[in-house]
C-alpha cells in the first residue's frame, strides 16, 4: 500500500507540486506544507467552517477533503482571495460593522459570504443567515456579520 502520492495543483494562482501522505487533509496541507495559515482548523469534522477554502470555484471544507483529492484542482485561500482584491468590499464592510472579534472564523465567513453574493447579489437578511449557517462564529452573535454582508451587497449593487 502506498501511503503518499505526488499531487500538482494551482494554489492562489501558483502551480504547486508536493508529495503528500494519503491521509493529509487539504487544510493541513495548505497550512503546514504551504504555510498558508489564513485557513483555520476549528473542528475537523466539517461543522464549523473555519477551514473553508475555494476549490474549482466552490467553497469547500478543507478538513473534509484530502489533499490528494485536490490533485489537478485550482485552490484559492483567504490569502489569495484577499490579495486579488476581490474581497475588498466585504472586508471593508466587516471592518466597519465590527463584524469580527477574534477573527478565527473570519476567513471562512468572508469566502462563504463572497460565494453567496456571487450567486445572489441582493440577499435579504434571512438568506444571509441561511448562507452562513454552516460557519460558527463564537464571538459576534452574527448580527454584525449579517449587517456587513448586507452592506457589501448593497455597495456592489450600486457599483453595477
Amino acid at each position: 500500500m502506498t501511503d503518499a502520492l505526488e499531487i500538482t495543483l494551482t494554489v492562489n494562482g501558483m502551480p504547486v507540486t508536493r508529495r503528500v501522505p494519503m491521509r493529509l487533509n487539504l487544510v493541513d496541507f495548505l497550512r503546514h506544507e504551504l504555510d498558508l495559515t489564513g485557513s483555520h482548523v476549528g473542528c475537523e469534522h466539517g461543522a464549523c467552517g473555519a477551514c473553508s477554502v475555494v476549490v474549482n470555484g466552490g467553497v469547500v471544507r478543507g478538513c473534509l477533503m484530502f489533499a490528494v483529492q485536490a490533485d489537478g484542482t485550482i485552490v484559492e485561500t483567504i490569502e489569495g482571495a484577499s490579495e486579488s482584491g476581490r474581497l475588498k468590499p466585504l472586508q471593508d464592510a466587516f471592518h466597519n460593522h465590527a463584524a469580527l472579534q477574534c477573527g478565527f472564523c473570519t476567513p471562512g465567513m468572508l469566502l462563504t459570504a463572497s460565494a453567496l453574493l456571487a450567486q445572489n447579489p441582493s440577499p435579504d437578511r434571512e438568506a444571509i443567515r441561511e448562507a452562513i449557517s454552516g460557519n460558527l462564529c463564537r464571538c459576534t452573535g452574527y448580527q454584525a456579520i449579517v449587517d456587513a454582508i448586507e452592506t457589501a451587497a448593497a455597495l456592489e449593487q450600486n457599483d453595477d
Partner: protein, 785 residues
C-alpha cells in the same frame, strides 16, 4: 489636567479593532501559525473512564511506532512538574485534592490525560497512542449530587465530596417566610456547558537547555499568570520563562486556567530538547476544556401583600469536577450565586446555603459570566412566578422592589458593595425599545390562534474588574494590577504595551483611544502591543470584564505621564510654562490660542537625537511605564436588563427566538460600538447556554456528546437580531469611570429566555426550570412525552 483632556475624542468614538485588518486578510498569527524548527507534536491517551485505577501501562508498541520520539506517563514526569491544589485563602474551609498534570495511578474523569506521546507529526503521535494498552480497574464513579453527598469520597483524605460549604445570611428569613403573604419556590437545574472557543487550546513550548529558558506561545488570556505557573511548577527561574499569547481565537475564560495537557507540553520540550506543540482537537476540547455551571438550586422568595419581597432563600448544590481548578479554584461560581441572588432588590432577610461537591466529571472553572446568569435567572424566575401569584404585572413588581438611586451606596444582603446601579433607568429604556404594550397585544391575539409567544425580562448584576484583595488576598499569584508602557518614537508616533490582552474584545482599540486622546494624536499614530510576558508591563491579562477598567486606567496614567514629560521638554525648549501648552493634532500648541509652537515629531526627534538642546539638568524621558491597582474594593459592580420575545411550539417543543433587547450600564463608554458588539456576542453565548449547550454525561460519568453534531452551539440561522443600548453611570473608583462589559450579554440572556418560555407556557399551567430548555424538556414539561 482637566476633564476636557481626559475624555476628549477619540475616547467615546466607535474606533475599530486595530487587529481587524490583518485578521480580515488572513494574516493573523495564532499559536498554531507560529513556526518552530525541529518542532514535535504531542497527542494524549485520555481516560475512557470517569473513575478507574491504572493497573499497568504497556507502551512498548508505541515507543517503536514510526516517528515516535518520546512516551511519558504521569508517574514518569512526576519529578519534572509539581502538582497543584486549587485552594483559596479567602475560603479557608475549601478543601481540594492535589492534581498532577497527567494522571498517576488513578483517573478521576473521562478525558483526563494519562500518557503523552511525542512524535514527528501529530498523526504519528495519534497512531502511537492507539498502540498503548492500559489495564484499568474501574472504580465506582460519583456522577450526580446524591452520590456525591452519600457515596464514597473520591479523595478519601478530604473526608467526603463536599469541597466547600457555607451559608451567607442576613436578617431573619425564618420569621419572614412564616409571615409571608405569598411564598414562591422553584427547583432549578442549570446544565453543564463549556466555552467552545473556535480556536482550540493550543500551546507551543520551546525549552532551551543552554540557558535553562522556556519560550511558550500559547492561546491564552493571561501571559504573566502562565509565566508564574510555568516557573514555579517546572522550577525554571521566572525571568527565563517567556509566555507569548499571539492572536487568540476566542477564549471566554476557558483560556485563563491551567490545563495539565498544556503544561505537560513544556515538560516534554525540556525532556526532548525540541519544541513541542499541543493542539486540542474538538473531542479533546469537549472532554477537557474547563466546563462551567452544573448547579442544582432550590430557591424561594417571600412577599407581603403589597408585593414587596421580604425574604429570599437559596440552596445551591454546585457540582464541580474531581479537583478544584487551578490557580483560581472552582469556588467563584457558587460563591457569586450565593451572594448575588436577589441583588437588584430591596430585601433584608437573606439566606444562601452553598455546597460545592466533587464528582468524577471534567473540572469546573470560570467561563464568561461566572455565576451571574444563574443568580439572575433564579431571582427573576421567582419574581415572575410571584407576579403570577400576586396577579401583579411583572414590570410593576420589579419597580416596587428595585433598589433606587437613594439606596446607594450599600452593602447587599449577600455582602457585596454596590456603588450605584441603575435598575430603573435600564428598565425604562428596555421598555421603550421593546414597545411592550404592542408585544402584549400581539401575544394575546396570537394565543387565541394557538400560537404561544412569551415575553421575558431579566434584571442582572455583574461583578467586574476584580480587585487585588480577592486573589492577592486569597494567596493566588494572579495580578489585579495593570501596567502600561508608552513611548514616543523619534517620528512622533506612539508605541504602547499593555498588560491586558485582546482575544477579540477590542481592548487594544480602547487603549489606543485613551493614549491618543491624552497625547493629542490621531488614533492611527498609536500602536498597541500586548500578550508578551517578557515585554509587556506586568499585569493580569483579560478576564472577568477587567480590560478597560484596569488596563484602561493604567494606560490613562502612562499617557498622562508621557504627556507631562513631553510638555516639560517643550516648555524648556520654548522657554515658557508647561501649563500653557497642550498637544493637539500632533502639534504642541499654546493652549489658549491654539497657535502651533512646535510639532510633536520635532520635539520627539530633538529628545531622542539632540538632547543637548535641553538644559543639562533635563534628561528626556520619552518612554514611561505606569501601573494601576484599585484599593479597598473587591469588584466594580455593573448592571443591566435584557428582554426576550419568543415563540414556543407546543407540538414540537421548539423555541423560536423572535427578538432580544439588552440595556447595559458599563459606566463611561470608551467605545460604544465595540461594547455593543461585546454585549451582542455575550447574549448569543447566553442563548446557547439556555437553549442548546450541554455537556451530557451518562450515569457512569461518560461524556456523551463530543462533536458539534451533538453539542449544539448557536448558528446564524437560529439567532435573532439583538438590540443593544447603554445607560452610563460612571464608577467613581477610577478616573475613567468605566465598568466591565465583556460578560454582560451572557449574564442576562439566560434568565430573559427562561422567563419568556415560561410566559409562553403559562396557558398550559406548566413551567420549565431546567437548562438548556431543549425541545425534549419542554415537551416533558407539557406532559407530551
Amino acid at each position: 489636567m482637566t476633564d476636557t483632556h481626559l475624555f476628549r475624542p477619540p475616547i467615546g468614538e466607535d474606533v475599530r479593532s486595530p487587529r481587524a485588518p490583518r485578521l480580515l486578510a488572513g494574516r493573523g498569527k495564532f499559536t498554531d501559525d507560529v513556526p518552530a524548527p525541529r518542532i514535535a507534536h504531542v497527542a494524549y491517551l485520555r481516560s475512557p473512564y470517569a473513575h478507574a485505577r491504572i493497573i499497568a501501562i504497556d507502551r512498548n508498541a508505541a515507543i517503536f511506532a514510526p516517528g515516535v520520539l518520546l512516551v511519558a506517563s504521569g508517574a514518569e514526569i512526576r519529578e519534572d512538574c509539581a502538582s497543584w491544589r486549587g485552594t483559596h485563602d479567602l475560603f479557608p474551609a475549601l478543601v481540594a485534592a492535589e492534581q498532577p498534570p497527567l494522571a498517576i495511578d488513578r483517573v478521576c474523569w473521562h478525558g483526563e490525560p494519562v500518557v503523552a506521546v511525542v512524535a514527528e507529526t501529530r498523526a504519528e503521535a495519534e497512531d502511537a497512542v492507539e498502540l498503548i494498552e492500559v489495564r484499568w480497574e474501574e472504580l465506582p464513579p460519583v456522577a450526580d449530587a446524591e452520590t456525591a453527598l452519600t457515596g464514597p469520597a473520591i479523595h478519601p483524605k478530604l473526608g467526603g465530596n463536599i469541597g466547600f460549604e457555607t451559608t451567607v445570611e442576613a436578617g431573619d428569613t425564618s420569621t419572614a417566610f412564616a409571615a409571608a403573604h405569598l411564598v414562591v419556590e422553584e427547583n432549578f437545574r442549570f446544565g453543564r456547558h463549556t466555552g467552545v472557543s473556535l480556536e482550540p487550546r493550543t500551546i507551543l513550548a520551546d525549552y532551551n537547555s543552554a540557558e535553562d529558558s522556556l519560550l511558550v506561545h500559547q492561546s491564552h488570556q493571561t501571559p504573566h499568570q502562565q509565566q508564574d505557573l510555568f516557573s514555579r511548577l517546572l522550577g525554571i527561574p521566572e525571568h527565563k520563562v517567556r509566555v507569548v499569547c499571539p492572536d487568540v481565537g476566542g477564549a471566554f475564560g476557558l483560556k485563563h486556567h491551567l490545563h495539565g495537557d498544556e503544561i505537560t507540553a513544556c515538560v516534554l520540550s525540556r525532556k526532548l530538547g525540541r519544541p513541542v506543540k499541543f493542539v486540542a482537537d474538538r473531542l479533546e476540547s469537549f472532554l477537557s476544556d474547563i466546563h462551567c455551571r452544573d448547579h442544582e438550586i432550590t430557591a424561594r422568595m417571600a412577599l407581603n401583600d403589597e408585593g414587596q419581597i421580604t425574604a429570599i432563600e437559596v440552596d445551591d448544590l454546585f457540582l464541580v469536577g474531581p479537583y478544584s481548578q487551578y490557580p483560581r479554584s472552582s469556588i467563584a461560581e457558587g460563591n457569586q450565586i450565593a451572594r448575588l441572588c436577589g441583588a437588584p432588590y430591596r430585601h433584608t432577610n437573606y439566606r444562601a446555603h452553598l455546597r460545592m461537591l466533587y464528582q468524577n466529571k471534567n473540572l469546573i472553572g470560570h467561563i464568561r459570566s461566572v455565576g451571574h446568569p444563574l443568580a439572575a435567572a433564579v431571582t427573576e424566575g421567582l419574581l415572575d412566578k410571584a407576579a403570577v401569584g400576586l396577579d401583579i404585572d411583572p414590570v410593576e413588581l420589579r419597580r416596587r422592589n428595585y433598589l433606587r438611586d437613594e439606596n446607594f451606596p450599600l452593602t447587599s444582603p449577600g455582602g457585596i458593595e454596590f456603588e450605584h446601579l441603575s435598575f430603573n433607568a435600564c428598565l425604562d429604556r428596555v421598555l421603550e425599545m421593546m414597545d411592550r404594550p404592542t408585544l402584549l397585544a400581539e401575544q394575546n391575539r396570537l394565543r387565541k390562534k394557538g400560537v404561544y409567544r412569551g415575553i421575558g425580562l431579566n434584571t442582572f448584576v455583574e461583578l467586574t474588574a476584580i480587585g487585588p484583595e480577592y486573589y492577592g488576598g486569597g494567596g493566588q499569584h494572579i495580578s489585579a494590577q495593570e501596567g502600561c508602557f508608552v513611548r514616543i518614537e523619534p517620528s512622533g508616533m506612539i508605541r504602547c504595551m499593555t498588560g491586558v490582552t485582546d482575544q477579540g474584545q477590542g481592548i487594544d482599540a480602547g487603549i489606543q483611544q485613551i493614549v491618543a486622546s491624552v497625547l493629542g494624536v490621531p488614533i492611527d499614530d498609536v500602536r498597541v502591543e500586548s500578550g508578551d510576558s517578557a515585554l509587556s508591563p506586568y499585569g493580569g491579562g483579560s478576564w472577568g470584564s477587567r480590560g478597560a477598567v484596569l488596563g484602561g486606567e493604567a494606560a490613562l496614567r502612562a499617557a498622562r505621564t508621557l504627556r507631562r514629560n513631553i510638555l516639560n521638554l517643550a516648555a524648556a525648549l520654548l522657554q515658557c510654562d508647561a501649563s500653557a501648552l497642550d498637544i493637539r493634532d500632533r502639534n504642541i500648541v499654546d493652549a489658549a490660542s491654539s497657535q502651533i509652537r512646535i510639532t510633536l515629531a520635532e520635539l520627539a526627534n530633538t529628545g531622542h537625537f539632540k538632547p543637548f538642546a535641553f538644559p543639562k539638568d533635563i534628561q528626556p524621558a520619552l518612554a514611561v511605564v505606569e501601573h494601576y491597582a484599585s484599593r479597598d474594593r473587591l469588584f466594580v459592580a455593573g448592571n443591566g436588563i435584557q428582554a426576550s420575545y419568543l415563540e414556543v411550539d407546543p407540538e414540537t417543543g421548539f423555541v423560536k427566538l423572535l427578538s432580544h433587547w439588552a440595556v447595559h450600564d458599563a459606566g463611561r463608554l470608551l467605545n460604544p460600538l465595540l461594547v455593543k458588539e461585546q454585549v451582542r456576542g455575550g447574549v448569543v453565548q447566553g442563548l446557547g447556554g439556555v437553549l442548546f449547550e450541554e455537556c451530557i454525561y451518562s450515569p457512569e460519568g461518560q461524556l456523551q456528546n463530543g462533536t458539534f453534531a451533538d453539542y449544539l452551539v448557536p448558528m446564524a440561522a437560529e439567532m435573532p437580531d439583538i438590540e443593544v443600548d447603554h445607560i452610563q453611570t460612571p464608577t467613581a473608583t477610577s478616573e475613567l469611570g468605566t465598568k466591565g462589559a465583556g460578560e454582560a450579554g451572557t449574564a442576562g440572556a439566560m434568565g430573559a429566555v427562561l422567563n419568556a418560555i415560561n410566559d409562553a407556557l403559562s396557558p398550559f399551567d406548566t413551567r420549565i426550570s431546567k437548562t438548556p430548555c431543549t425541545p425534549d424538556r419542554i415537551l416533558r414539561a407539557l406532559g407530551k412525552i
